[in-house]
Every structure is written in structure tokens, then in C-alpha cells.
């Protein structure tokens, strides 16, 4: 029995019945990881994968076997992005500054996975501190796209996306600040979910931009992602920004019809410059939704073009503050200097990579006295306008929006060196983070053999409706989604 072809639902049932052991499952996954990950041409997915840790956790699953009802993720191995605090494997955020750092506590989402019977399965590569869109900006080197190894898997959660796409695990956790789950999901041809801001606890997620960050989920299928989302969602007293909103049965949304529901097609996400082949894939997906009884309606989100500039003020500003704790005083890298200031400078310039330093500089600048009003305050005002665009469309009777996830398929490793060009790969995803609304990407076909992602965006806490559409589209596309 291999985990490669197993869904979350199958693993759960089989583990509960005892037809498959959690240990067997993780051993297969470990074998698969060993086969694809290591060496010069390996995918370089895992920055930590300790057989002993994984097998110990798998052993712990046996305790759940006696329960009458199978635990929701019983025996399911879940790969974890390296910016989520775990107890035994290091948590390094793909950065030299945290090399070897092991957290003495674990993230709320990891605890919830464990309590649901899942097995945390290693730590996955990422752009340093989640700053990037390609998983090339990691102290551990780039991760390759399992579908096309000369291509990037997207980022910043590229390692987690690749772990699922390579068939090692059925689900993985990532994190989003501007599209870091949806964009790699699109590039790797899998499902990626960014929940509503406040839906999932950030406690134990190493902060990049606190007002935008959310933990997200990758799944080989919509159902895999939905089942995992159900487990990690919900209020956490340790994260004051989580909402006390009941968690709906997302996996139950599979039975819901979308007949009579309205899909908005925001014209700003289908510019003339959009790759016609991607546009064609989106149109085909919309046609499937229409066939399912949904109404397709053109709508406008007029402030969309301001999203990238707003994002690149708000996110670096918060990052410049969030990353101040990496100062060489208490943990992580310390490089001695002449004096205190010298130690700070040596530690931080040696510990952080170029992209991280660039964003800290931008963030420090936009928060400085005399610039705050012109940049940060103004950006927050525009951010409100972007959120209002969504609110007004949803208030007008639109149930979900459908857009391409990215303007292009996965690009070649090393192809984009201009930071601004890289930033533009998030152009269709940052809006949902700025507005705090849930969004997800799923495969809707291929272009030149490379996966194309389609994105649903729903109102705040509208995950159940969003999943209903995702299930419906997945069903309607069938194998077309991967061809």
C-alpha cells in the first residue's frame, strides 16, 4: 500500500479498519521522498525529514485506532512548511539566521493535526521567511517542480506544494501572505486553499506580515484539502485575530449543488495581456460551471491594479517589525561585532538573504517619520478600497468569483531575476490577502504540459460555498483538469 494514490478519506478509513498501518503509510511516503528528493537532480522538497520522528508520530496513531469513530485525519501524513513551529524538527523558515533552531513549543495547527490523528511529515522548503514566489530564495537552494523539474514549483510554499504534487503526501500545510499557497498549487497542478483571515490560528506560524498571513492547505484533491481545513480551522485563544465563527463541514460541501448560484467573472483579472491559453482554460472552466446550473456574471473590482503596490508597502512594513526579533540575542545565528550595534549588523546581514533584507529596508522606510502618512497610511486606505470592491460585489448577489490563479504557468528556475517582475506573479492572488477573504486554486488543465490554476474567491467565512464550487468543478473537469 502506497500513500501515492491514497486519498485522505481512504487512508483514514483503512487505517481505522486496520487494513493499512500508519507506520506502513509513512514508510511508503519516506521511500517515495527518498526516491525523488535527494541528490543533484532531486526535487529538494524537504529541509528536514527525520525518519525516526515521523515513525514515532505514526506509532502514536495506534492510540486512535480504538476510537469508535475514526479521527478525521487518522494515519494521514502531512508535510509541514518550515515556518510552522514543530517540536522535534528544526523550524528555520529557509533562513540561515534560524539554522538548527528547534522550537520548544508547537504551532496550534500542528497540535490540531496531531489531535486529529495526522502524522507531521518533515519540514518543507520555502522562500526565506515566505518572501518570494518561486522557492528559489531559500538558504537550502531551490525546490524543483515535480511536474517539470526545470521549472520552479512557485512559492513561497513551494516545498509543500511539491510534496503533494510528487505524490509523497496527500496533503501539506503552507502559509499565505500574498498567494504563497495558491500560486504554487497552480504551478504544481494541485489544490491550494487560503482561508479567511482569522479562520485558522497563526500561533506558531513565524510571522511575515501579520495582517495578511494565514496558514493554508495543499491537497491532491479538493476533498483532501477540505478535510484538512476542517481540522485546522477555528478560534484559538492564543491568536487574538482568530474569529469565533463556527467551522462548517467543508468536506460535506461536496454534496451541494451550485445550481442557481452566481459566479462573478471580474474583468480586471482577464486583461487583454493575459496569456490566451490561460484565458481559454478559464473560459472552459466557467462553461463547466454554467453547465452545472451556475450563472456567470461579469463584475468589476476597480481597485485591483493597486493591489501590488499596496501589498509591497503593507507587507514589508509589518515584516520589518516582525523580523526585528532575529537579533542574535536569544536564539539563532549570532555573529560577534565590535559592539552591540556591530553584533546586530553582522548577525542580520549574514543571517538574512537579499530579498529579506530588501523588504526590511522597504518596510523600515515606509514606516519612518515623515513617510508614514504618504506610504503606510495611504496604503491602508487603498487596502480598504480593495476590500470594499469585494464587499460590494458579494453584496450584489455574487456567491463566488472565478479568476485565473496566475498570469503565467510555472517559469523556469533562474528565469526571473528582477524582483518586481517576480512580484507580478502574485497579481491575481494578493487581493484576497489584502481583503481577508478566502480563496483557493485548483487545476483546470495544462498549457505546454504545465499546470494552470483556476481560482475561486468567496466572501469572509464563505469557505463552505467556495468548496461546493471547487468540488463541482473538479467533478465536471475530471481528467481535463490534468491534461
Amino acid at each position: 500500500m502506497s500513500s501515492v494514490s491514497s486519498t485522505v478519506a481512504d487512508l483514514r478509513g483503512n487505517t481505522h479498519r486496520g487494513t493499512v498501518g500508519a507506520l506502513d503509510t509513512v514508510d511508503s511516503a519516506l521511500d517515495r521522498a527518498k526516491a525523488v528528493d535527494a541528490g543533484r537532480d532531486g526535487l529538494n522538497i524537504f529541509v528536514a525529514l527525520d525518519q525516526g520522528h515521523v515513525r514515532t508520530d505514526a506509532d502514536a496513531c495506534d492510540a486512535f485506532r480504538s476510537h469508535a469513530e475514526p479521527a478525521p485525519l487518522l494515519g494521514v501524513p502531512v508535510a509541514i512548511k518550515d515556518n510552522l513551529a514543530t517540536l522535534r524538527d528544526p523550524t528555520t523558515c529557509g533562513s540561515r539566521i534560524l539554522a538548527g533552531y528547534v522550537s520548544p513549543y508547537e504551532a496550534t495547527v500542528i497540535r490540531r493535526l496531531r489531535e486529529a490523528g495526522a502524522v507531521p511529515f518533515g519540514k518543507t522548503n520555502m522562500d526565506e521567511f515566505a518572501m518570494g514566489s518561486s522557492t528559489e530564495h531559500s538558504a537550502y537552494g531551490p525546490t524543483r517542480n515535480p511536474v517539470a523539474p526545470d521549472r520552479v514549483p512557485g512559492g513561497s510554499s513551494g516545498g509543500s506544494a511539491a510534496a503533494v504534487a510528487a505524490g509523497i503526501v496527500p496533503v501539506a500545510l503552507g502559509s499565505e501572505t500574498g498567494g504563497s499557497v495558491r500560486q504554487p498549487a497552480a504551478f504544481c497542478g494541485i489544490v491550494g486553499v487560503k482561508p479567511t483571515y482569522g479562520r485558522v490560528s497563526r500561533f506558531g506560524l513565524v510571522a511575515f506580515a501579520s495582517s495578511l498571513d494565514q496558514v493554508g492547505v495543499f491537497g491532491a484533491s479538493v476533498d483532501d484539502a477540505a478535510r484538512t481545513m476542517e481540522v485546522i480551522s477555528g478560534r484559538d485563544p492564543l491568536d487574538s485575530t482568530t474569529a469565533d465563527v463556527p467551522v462548517a463541514a467543508y468536506s460535506g460541501a461536496g454534496g451541494r449543488s451550485i445550481r442557481g448560484l452566481v459566479v462573478g467573472r471580474p474583468t480586471e483579472y482577464f486583461p487583454d495581456s493575459l496569456d490566451p491559453r490561460i484565458r481559454a482554460r478559464c473560459d472552459a472552466a466557467l462553461e463547466k460551471l454554467r453547465e452545472q446550473g451556475a450563472e456567470i456574471r461579469d463584475v468589476s473590482l476597480p481597485h485591483t491594479e493597486l493591489a501590488i503596490p499596496v501589498y509591497y508597502i503593507v507587507a514589508p512594513a509589518e515584516a520589518s517589525s516582525n523580523l526585528a526579533r532575529f537579533d542574535g540575542v536569544r536564539y539563532g545565528l549570532r555573529v560577534q561585532g565590535q559592539d552591540l550595534r556591530g553584533m546586530y549588523e553582522a548577525t542580520r546581514s549574514r543571517g538574512f538573504g537579499d530579498e529579506v533584507i530588501r523588504r526590511i529596508m522597504i518596510g523600515t522606510y515606509v514606516l519612518s517619520a515623515g513617510y508614514y502618512d504618504a506610504y503606510y497610511r495611504k496604503a491602508q486606505q487603498v487596502r480598504n478600497l480593495i476590500a470594499a470592491d469585494f464587499a460590494s460585489v458579494f453584496a450584489g448577489g455574487v456567491d463566488v468569483l472565478f479568476t485565473p490563479t496566475t498570469p503565467t504557468p510555472a517559469f523556469a528556475i533562474g528565469a526571473i531575476s528582477d524582483p518586481y517582475e517576480m512580484y507580478l506573479s502574485d497579481i491575481f492572488t494578493v487581493t484576497a490577502n489584502l481583503a481577508g477573504v478566502p480563496a483557493m486554486s485548483q487545476p483546470i488543465g495544462r498549457v505546454d504540459g504545465l499546470p494552470v490554476g483556476g481560482q475561486f474567491i468567496a466572501p469572509h467565512f464563505g469557505e463552505a460555498t467556495m468548496f461546493a464550487f471547487a468540488y463541482a468543478l473538479e467533478r465536471a473537469l475530471g481528467q481535463e483538469a490534468h491534461t
Binding site: N83, L84, A85, T91, C93, L98, Y101, S103, P104, Y105, A107, R202, F203, G204, L205, V206, A207, A209, S210, S211, P237, L238, D239, S240, T241, A317, E318, S320, S321, L323, A324, R325, F326, D327, V329, R330, Y331, L340, Y344, T364, L367, S368, A369, Y372, Y376
Partner: protein, 488 residues
């Protein structure tokens, strides 16, 4: 530089002072995590992922800290806002684990208060405005003298809840600044929000001071004076800094906006080497904490449940217990002492004697032992019982003092001590007559002179009996018996 020199300068120059007071709130746990706030624990033992700023940790606001901050703000006459916003104050320092302090900036908890610090000669109040009260967290401590050549960091204090109370520049002398601080401390003690101890650092004062010529309406350039560790230190530091500024101004110089450090041992202020004034703290709203929303009804309930303020209590003590100004001031100086007095007065039904006993025996005892009224062995109902024993003639005043001493030592109730020690007043005539017989036998001359009409000898004879009875004889009955016996 003497006080009279300052007074001379103040004929031509005016001192303008505003104070920033940081007060640690008396919560069991820290502002944003559940670590203990206990003072004096071994270094770095009251710490957790949150207050150590480990990667991924997030703050969760302590509701008790909000209550105490609100109570303090209301007691200072502030308007408490239904919405306030936490902000990050960013700067690098080894004892600031996150690299920013969670504070409040442009939307503080409360604004617009006022406290009365005394009266002018014409009876009008001297008021000091309270600009704002905001919540924030404390930093850790940098220990520079523990390890040679290195600085040690103790993060036990990191994350302890603080309020910062910012005054208007309303004080015009060091004495007024001292009065403001004493009134503030008393109010905060009455509100039971803080230990308000400058020695333990639960109250810290930074002073902004400037000088201007009398008649000038524009404020001069101010300096910030730090590092004072007592109220009198604040007063002395303000005077020294004022004198320094006036010297500079009189010589035609100008004042640099800078931070001055008070050196209490040398009695001097000197410029701080760090460029505190040039910091750009890059404040922005704390994204990890939603705005602090307080319902109006909750604020009103807090206002309603506010403990009695010192001024109210002073007025009530004067009125209810007919106490003079001096007694009121002594008895209300400390809320626990006031509570103690009030319990004794109510239980004994004798406010005047209660005041005498509390201000006399009780305070003398506490002063002698350095004890605290909160843990004083003699509880109010026992002291009231003793007062009743005196009033009812069960024990004499002299015996009462002996009983009190034993109550201090043992904590036993007074009646039990009186019984055990044989200190109950004797008014049994047979016993009294016996003692009298002995005294007349022993002092025949004095007895004869008394019989002959030398009245002043009554005291001598009664005193002799009292001594013989070890204070137990009832002096009033004794005087009657003496009169009967000698037919006077």
C-alpha cells in the same frame, strides 16, 4: 546649590514641568501571556515563548490588566475610550525581545484627566492635567554589573503590564512635581492597581522640564530627566536641571533638547550618551491584536465599582468620625491603614479613642518593627474589643497598654489575655479595702496628712494602691472608698 538659590532664581525664572509616570499593574500574570509577574524570581524563570519572542508566538491581552488600567484612568478623572488601539514601538535593544514594545500611540485607552495636588493661599485648588493614560508592556532588565565585560539579560520583567500616565506641563516647581507624584501614588494605592514602589521599580518617573522668564507665555526648550529613584530625587533633579538651564540661558546660550540622567550620589544631572531624542520608533498599529473595544456599560460599571478615592475618604472621615485635619491626614495616608482605622472605629463605636489608639500604639508598633498594617497581628475587631473593655471599666487604661503589647506578640483576643494575666480591673470592695489597709499602714504620715485635709495626697495614696494591685484596682472606686474611710 541650595534651595534658597533656587528660590532666588525663581524670582526671575519660571520652571515648567510635565511628568511621565510608568506604573506596573498588579496583575498575577503578564500583559500578553500567562507568565507570573512575581518580583524577585530567579533570572529568566518567568518566561515563555510569548515573552521571549520566540518565532511564531503571538500576544493575547490580559483582561485583568485592562480592568486595572481602566480603574486607574477613571480615578485620575480621565475619559476612557470605547475603542483604543495597540501599536508597536520599534527599536532594537537586547532587553526588548520582540524588537518592539506593544504600547498605545495615537488612540490611547484614556485622555483628559485632572488631579488636585493642593490648595493655593486663597483656597483655590492647584490642579495638574492628565493628558493621557495608555497601556503598554515592560521591557526586561539589562544587568551590567554581574559579569565583567558582558551584559546579562533578565526577561522576567518583559511583558509585565504597565500604564503610562502623562501629565500636562502644569507644574511650576519641584515641590509641585513632588506633590503631584505623592497624590498620584496615593490614588493608585487606593485603587489597588499597583504596588507603586519606586525602589522595586513598579513606579518610574521621567520628567520633562524647561525654564522661561517670568511673564513669558511660550514654553522654553525642554529636556527629559531620567534615572530618579525616589520622589525627593525627582525634586532635587528638577531643581538641578532648572538651575543648569537658567545658567545656560542667562549666559545667552540655548537649551538642547536632550536626555539628562540624574546621578543621585553626586547630586548632579549629566547628559545621557545615548541619543534617545533621535529615535524614530516607526509606530504602527499592532496587527496581532484587534482594537481594544470596551462597552460603555462596562466602563460605567467600572466607574461605579471604583474604590473610594483618597479625597472622598478624607472628607468622609472628617464628617463621619469628627476627626481633625491632622488625624484625617495621618489615618488616610495609606488605604490599608484607613481601612484598619475604620474597622476599629465601627466595631468599637468610639471613633475618637480608635483614632488615638491607631495613631498612637498601632503606628508606634509598626514603626518600631517596620511592620505592615496588612499583616499586623492585632486585627481591628480585637483592638475594638480592647477599647470596649476600657470603656466598660473591665480593664484600666494602664492594663490595656499591657494587654495590647501581648496582643501584638501573640495575636490572642484581649479578654483572654486580661483574664490569663490577671489584668481585669478589681472593683471588689473587700479586696480594695485590704490593699488600702496595707497602704495606710505603710504610709502613716501621708494617711494622717490626708485625713487632716491635705487633698492633694489622694493621688499618692491611690497611686500606691494601683502599684500594689499591679494596675488592676479601679481608681474611681478606690477614691470613693478613701473618701468614705476618712469622712472627707
Amino acid at each position: 546649590m541650595s534651595a534658597s538659590d533656587v528660590e532666588t532664581l525663581m524670582r526671575d525664572w519660571e520652571m515648567v514641568v510635565g511628568l511621565e509616570v510608568h506604573v506596573q499593574l498588579k496583575t498575577r500574570t503578564k500583559a500578553f501571556c500567562s507568565c507570573s509577574t512575581e518580583y524577585g524570581a530567579a533570572p529568566n524563570t518567568n518566561v515563555c515563548p510569548v515573552c521571549l519572542a520566540l518565532p511564531g508566538a503571538l500576544p493575547a491581552l490580559n483582561a485583568r490588566a485592562v480592568e486595572l488600567a481602566t480603574r486607574a484612568a477613571l480615578a485620575l478623572g480621565c475619559e476612557v475610550h470605547p475603542q483604543s488601539v495597540f501599536a508597536r514601538k520599534n527599536y532594537f535593544y537586547p532587553d526588548l525581545p520582540k524588537g518592539y514594545q506593544i504600547s498605545q500611540f495615537d488612540q490611547p485607552l484614556a485622555t483628559g484627566g485632572q488631579v488636585e495636588i493642593g490648595r493655593n493661599a486663597d483656597g483655590s485648588p492647584i490642579n495638574v492635567g492628565v493628558t493621557r493614560v495608555h497601556m503598554e508592556e515592560d521591557a526586561g532588565k539589562s544587568v551590567h554589573d554581574r559579569f565583567p565585560g558582558a551584559t546579562a539579560i533578565d526577561l522576567n520583567r518583559a511583558g509585565v503590564p504597565l500604564i503610562e500616565i502623562v501629565s500636562e506641563p502644569d507644574m511650576r516647581s519641584a515641590r509641585e512635581a513632588g506633590a503631584y507624584l505623592r497624590v498620584l501614588k496615593q490614588i493608585l494605592e487606593y485603587m489597588a492597581v499597583s504596588d507603586v514602589s519606586m525602589e522595586e521599580g513598579s513606579l518610574r518617573v521621567d520628567a520633562n522640564v524647561s525654564a522661561r522668564r517670568r511673564g513669558e507665555t511660550k514654553l522654553g526648550t525642554k529636556t527629559e530627566v531620567k534615572n530618579m529613584n525616589s520622589f525627593s530625587g525627582v525634586e532635587r533633579a528638577l531643581e538641578m536641571e532648572f538651575v543648569r538651564q537658567v545658567d545656560v540661558l542667562e549666559a545667552g546660550g540655548h537649551i538642547d533638547q536632550q536626555t539628562m540622567l540624574w546621578d543621585g550620589a553626586a547630586g548632579q544631572v549629566r547628559p545621557s550618551r545615548s541619543k534617545e531624542g533621535s529615535h524614530d520608533y516607526r509606530y504602527f498599529p499592532e496587527p496581532d491584536l484587534p482594537p481594544l473595544l470596551l462597552e460603555k456599560a462596562w466602563i460605567e460599571r467600572m466607574r461605579h465599582d471604583l474604590p473610594e478615592l483618597p479625597a472622598t475618604r478624607r472628607g468622609r472621615f472628617a464628617e463621619e468620625y469628627s476627626l481633625g485635619d491632622y488625624d484625617v491626614d495621618v489615618l488616610t495616608a495609606d488605604p490599608q491603614l484607613a481601612d484598619y482605622y475604620e474597622s476599629v472605629a465601627r466595631a468599637s463605636g468610639d471613633p475618637k479613642s480608635s483614632a488615638n489608639w491607631v495613631m498612637g500604639e498601632v503606628l508606634a508598633q509598626l514603626r518600631a518593627t517596620g511592620g505592615d498594617i496588612g499583616t499586623f497581628r492585632v486585627r481591628p475587631h480585637d483592638l475594638a474589643e480592647l477599647l470596649r473593655l476600657v470603656r466598660d471599666g473591665v480593664v484600666s487604661h494602664t492594663a490595656a497598654k499591657q494587654i495590647f503589647a501581648r496582643m501584638v506578640a501573640s495575636g490572642d483576643p484581649p479578654a483572654q489575655i486580661a483574664e490569663r494575666e490577671g489584668l481585669v480591673k478589681v472593683n471588689d470592695d473587700a479586696q480594695l479595702q485590704g490593699w488600702l489597709d496595707d497602704v495606710i499602714t505603710e504610709m502613716p504620715t501621708e494617711a494622717e496628712r490626708f485625713r487632716a485635709g491635705e487633698r492633694k495626697l489622694q493621688g499618692v495614696l491611690v497611686g500606691a494602691v494601683m502599684k500594689k494591685s499591679k494596675g488592676r484596682a479601679d481608681p474611681r472606686r478606690l477614691a470613693q472608698l478613701l473618701a468614705e474611710r476618712f469622712g472627707t
